[in-house]
Symmetry: C2
Subunit: 197 residues, 2 copies
Amino acid sequence: MRPLDPRTVRSLDAALASARELLIEQGLAGLTHSAVAARSGISRATLYRLWPEPTDLVRAAVTQHITLARPKPTGDLRADLLTGLTATHAMLHEPATEQGMRVMIERAAVDPRFAEVKQALYRSGTQAARTTLTAAVARGELPAELDLDLAVDQLHGPLFFRRLVANRTFDLDYVRAVLDSFLRAYSSKQSPEHGIS
Amino acid sequence: MRPLDPRTVRSLDAALASARELLIEQGLAGLTHSAVAARSGISRATLYRLWPEPTDLVRAAVTQHITLARPKPTGDLRADLLTGLTATHAMLHEPATEQGMRVMIERAAVDPRFAEVKQALYRSGTQAARTTLTAAVARGELPAELDLDLAVDQLHGPLFFRRLVANRTFDLDYVRAVLDSFLRAYSSKQSPEHGIS
């Protein structure tokens, strides 16, 4: 692929910076091609060429800032899960990605284009945890009958709930408390009435 | 308080039914006074009198359908938590309240009026669990050092994550699995390295 013209790169960066600012300040309602053009000085024609739909603007503003955890697994269950959840923590506290998640949660239910973007982010965002959990089951460190989807929800759900529903920030101590509670639930002796169903 | 004129009650019901339909079909963008007027046949003047702001429309459309769990606690920890989480399950699967939650998650970050409504719903929606957990700590069934906010997140977070982020529905078996895993984590013997911090 030919390297991009430096002027194009500068335009793109300026447009994305403006798009992120608008998303953070005003949410989806404020993220229009006209508003990005007015703030960044990039022409609307250029913006429409780069990102034809409002969905494309949101996706571009959000994904550029997502640093997906693709670390090499160390084989240490707790350490590997913590690496993945640390990336989730960062995503929920970086204003553009946080607000992008909020927008997608609202729009995904009524607009298939947003649903598609959100589904892709959900899949890539939880992939690290899935890989780590599957490897731990294979090593016998987690029960063979582990419900992988439930486990993913238990690890990520509290973080999303606290940031997006309770509207509170949190630190890595909180992430570790969620993780250690999860490990406790699955490493403890199980009494029959509380077995995994 | 004087009972409302029956015609006013009918107007109100018709307007709220239209507001819920618009919210479900189009999300917040479609829930305007004009659209509710066009669909319900109620005049815009009446709508503005009843609900001056778009926030008021959303709040009215959503809260009318929320059946908050205010059951008399039985003193059975698992049964009482399950009652509260069953109400959360219903809220996440009733289209108007589900979409209302999505709207508030998006708007709360950029509009203080929505933040206020969401905060009130969050508080009342988690109150049953807080009361139950506090009573169980007092009875010695849960550790005295239980982090109440963390526990609330662990019980509700997976449900919200699965419905609003993974965009999947779920049944009460899933709710019971989340609950039993939670009880397992806190009823097990705690090893020092995984203590509650």
